[in-house]
């Protein structure tokens, strides 16, 4: 199931590159112009409020008259902090979404590895299951071999597992994505 979901995600994401000589889609950006504008406004406004508050407070003679500007300065600092926080959280979320889209997560990878074993009809023994990390996948006629959790191996039917040495003897090279 997890394997199918991961494969579906990749299929959807890369459906455009299945067609040869198609123009590559534009590279996504971590932050858009709207995010940059929001951050610039909150940070800039926060800085201006602090500067103005300092200017007013410096011109007042008593502490009582300076409390207002002090509150304003703290509000400016808070505004800037919220802007920074929103900026970073947006970046983290965008990064996480793209990572999930491009690479199956650990749970998917484990399920994918188990599913492949069932699909190719080479069930692992207890001993070999312990060394599943040493088993790599490749299809007939393929030039590269992959880790079981590799995005490029997701959803492949009929692929067999073998050791690195066996793959290399068959003339295959390690995948450039999962780098087995």
């Amino acid at each position: 199931m997890a394997e199918a979901v991961a494969h579906s995600r990749l299929r959807t994401r890369y459906s455009s590159i299945d067609a040869p000589r198609q123009v590559a889609p534009a590279r996504p950006l971590l932050w858009g112009a709207e995010d940059l504008l929001r951050w610039a406004i909150t940070t800039g406004l926060g800085g201006i409020v602090i500067a103005v508050a300092w200017y007013i407070a410096a011109g007042e003679a008593t502490f009582g008259q300076q409390v207002g500007p002090l509150d304003a300065a703290l509000a400016g600092l808070l505004l800037s902090g919220v802007g920074n926080l929103v900026w970073l959280l947006h970046g983290r979320r965008a990064l996480g979404e793209r990572r999930r889209l491009l690479l199956p997560d650990v749970a998917d990878a484990t399920a994918s590895a188990a599913a492949h074993v069932v699909v190719v009809g080479t069930p692992l023994t207890a001993a070999s299951a312990a060394t599943v990390a040493d088993a790599f996948l490749a299809g007939e006629g393929m030039e590269r071999f992959h880790r079981p959790g590799c995005a490029l191996a997701a959803g492949r039917k009929g692929w067999t597992t073998a050791t690195r040495q066996e793959h290399e003897e068959a003339g295959r090279r390690p995948c450039g994505v999962c780098r087995p």
């Binding site: 990749l10 890369y14 590159i17 299945d18 040869p20 590559a24 590279r27 971590l30 940070t43 926060g46 800085g47 602090i50 500067a51 508050a53 300092w54 407070a57 410096a58 007042e60 003679a61 008593t62 502490f63 300076q66 500007p69 002090l70 300065a73 703290l74 400016g76 600092l77 800037s80 902090g81 920074n84 900026w87 970073l88 970046g91 983290r92 990064l95 793209r98 990572r99 491009l102 690479l103 299809g139 006629g141 393929m142 030039e143 590269r144 995005a151 490029l152 492949r156 995948c175 450039g176 994505v177």
Partner: protein, 97 residues
């Protein structure tokens, strides 16, 4: 290493360090100003400019630094996506054929 190239590559971290340094200087200057004044009315402008202003600058510097880390990871995903684009069509051709 070429300094110009390094600055171009690491502009966000250089900017972050500049903000952090400015924040630290503001905090120290604020402390010096506050310690030199006996009255609260004389200290408060230093608290606002040096203290709050310094924290503001440190916050911006930290944000820029963390943004640089996120951008680095984003670039790694760019290279993974490029590798996927190269690998995927070839793999599909073999699987179909």
């Amino acid at each position: 290493m070429d300094i110009g190239k390094w600055l171009r590559l690491q502009w966000d971290r250089v900017l972050a360090w500049m903000f952090v340094a400015a924040g630290a200087i503001a905090l120290i200057a604020g402390w010096v100003g506050v310690s030199g004044s006996a009255y609260a009315a004389g200290q408060l402008p230093y608290i606002i400019s040096g203290g709050i202003g310094g924290i503001f600058l440190l916050g911006v510097g930290a944000t820029l630094w963390l943004s640089a880390d996120l951008r680095d990871e984003w670039r790694k995903l760019d290279s993974i996506e490029d590798a996927l684009r190269e690998e995927r069509p070839a793999a599909d051709e073999v699987a179909v054929g």
